[in-house]
Amino acid sequence: MDLSSINWLLLLASLMVAATPILLAGIGELVVEKAGVLNLGVEGMMITGAIAGFAAAVESGSPALGFLGAAVAGALLSMLFAVLTQFALANQVASGLALTLFGLGLSSLMGQSYVGLKPPSTPKLDLPLLSDIPVLGPVLFSHDLMVYFSIALVAATWAFLKYTRAGLTLRAVGENHEAAHALGYKVVAIRCAAIAFGGACAGLGGAYLSLVRVPQWTEGMTSGAGWIALALVVFASWKPWRVLIGAYLFGGITVLQLNLQAAGLKVPVEYLSMSPYIITIIVLVIMSSGRSRGALGAPASLGRTFHATG
């Protein structure tokens, strides 16, 4: 094995890129679940965002409009879920799964004429002085804007949930919708807003795949990223900064195992391929055992249907 052939700085830089789609989708889903709604349709919203963003970017020639279109498309699709679960009172698990299947079908229909095209490239944010700093420069300051946006979004979500009145209300709705309703909060409206936010984030995550990470459109290109984002929220025990750590851990191991293979590590690569999942399980076991058990607090009303009576 020749570990010296691995450029650890580049690895750090590329893990940030590999983690960004699941980070975006994960932070969106965290807000949705904090509001007490379990939306399993992340994969469907992501892939819809991937094609919508791709189409918008190709047609307009602007990556920024592409990301905007992806966010709008993800939010629109999530509204379907909102109507089903918040107004028609359909089962959230079933509706979410249906949303995933619908999104996969819809995206391949929308994508028929975009196969084989190249999107306009998303510019890298080359900060003149900062990116020249040795070591830190290439790792931290040579990415495209979306990488920083995703980190900023985590910070904003954390601050919103922790320090603002609106964030407190959202959490109250997620913990006990009956009580929140009795206090006069508009449970359904708040949940719809959260679902739309989650959809927009998932759409952005999908567009990051089709516009930056791959970058091209192919059917089924999210290949399970949405499900990883869902697992990430549980992994993070509904805490924003842990979503960031989890996403980077997951993205990091994915990239690392490819690096180790290329460096000729004499370990069967199957073990490396499954390592992200094993580490996720180990962390989950550690976190949900012993003293920190209380920290694994899912919102109390998560997944429960709310209907205002009286």
Binding site: S5, I6, N7, L10, L11, S14, A18, S108, G111, Q112, V115, G116, L117, K118, S121, L209, R213, V214, P215, Q216, T218, E219, G220, M221, T222, S223, A225, T254, V255, L258, N259, Q261, A262, A263, G264, K266, P268, V269, E270, S273
Partner: protein
Amino acid sequence: MKKRTLLKGAVAALALAATPALAQDKTKVGFVYVGPVGDGGWTYEHDQGRKAVEAEFGDAVETVYVENVPEGPDAERVITQMALDGADLIFTTSFGYMDPTINVAAKFPDVKFEHATGYKTAPNVSVYSARFYEGRAVQGTIAGHMTESNVIGYIGSVPIPEVVRGINSAYIHAKKVNPDVQFKIVWVYEWFNPAKEADAAKVLIEQGADVILQHTDSTAPLAAAAEAGNVIGFGQASDMAEYKDGPRVSSIIDNWAPYYIARTKAVMDGTWESTNTWDGIGPGMVGIGEITDKVPAEVKAEAEALQASIASGEYHPFTGPIKKQDGSDWLAEGETADDGTLAGMNFYVEGLEGEIPQ
């Protein structure tokens, strides 16, 4: 009243009985695909073959296809459904469909099956594949000349003989023109996963590779090479010509159309028999995409000469002396590999680093 109902029923039954008779005039050809038809690679080319069958026979045939069929039990369900729906001939186009195809074929003795890249046959099951390793020899030659870092990255899909054969063939020919060349191999364990393929390509480039060879189906590695700048790559399974002005310098193209047309015709004529087809550059099942100007003229000429000598049968890509990775002898001077060994190839040749995942 009752009589009328009966009569109606009889008419309906007659109509029903008549429909299959009518349908039998058309030969129904089914295709089972492992990826989406828009993958731009493997499945795309099979679908081009399907379209060629339609264009050739017009109204005399009806083709159906199912895409994104996972290898394994799901495939068996899809193939069974196709046979139940009246398909006369079914092409199953991925290695992992081998056992499902054999299982379903046993239940439908009147339906003809054709399995791509497998080795199990039955009276109503043919196998067919292309000698991609012939194309890999041409790619290896270009890659060996073109690399400046002497590191060539190879994205492996699933560790089966076909992929191992490709790695060996590319390595032997790269080494021949550039003794310093080194291969770095990364397995992604999937035929089609653009995000993972892109990551694999980026990793290889980060570790010094300036030529990327891929045995996966999407164009994502080429996109990654384009982004990196001074890296070249090749089209896999399809020409991937949209990257011609970028990193793509040549390609291996699967041309299934003539085979699909011939086999469909055999079913129509009633001359279909179980066969084992393994064709290469010579008969045109493997095509070499245009070598672009990025490749120096003398290298291009050398690659084309190799292509021509393989096509004429004058040269075999696996010609001795070749040793296995562990140093044991495989082929003596001037000896060529037999098809049986090639079909089950599960070892690296001498000089390749790493182990084949088992």
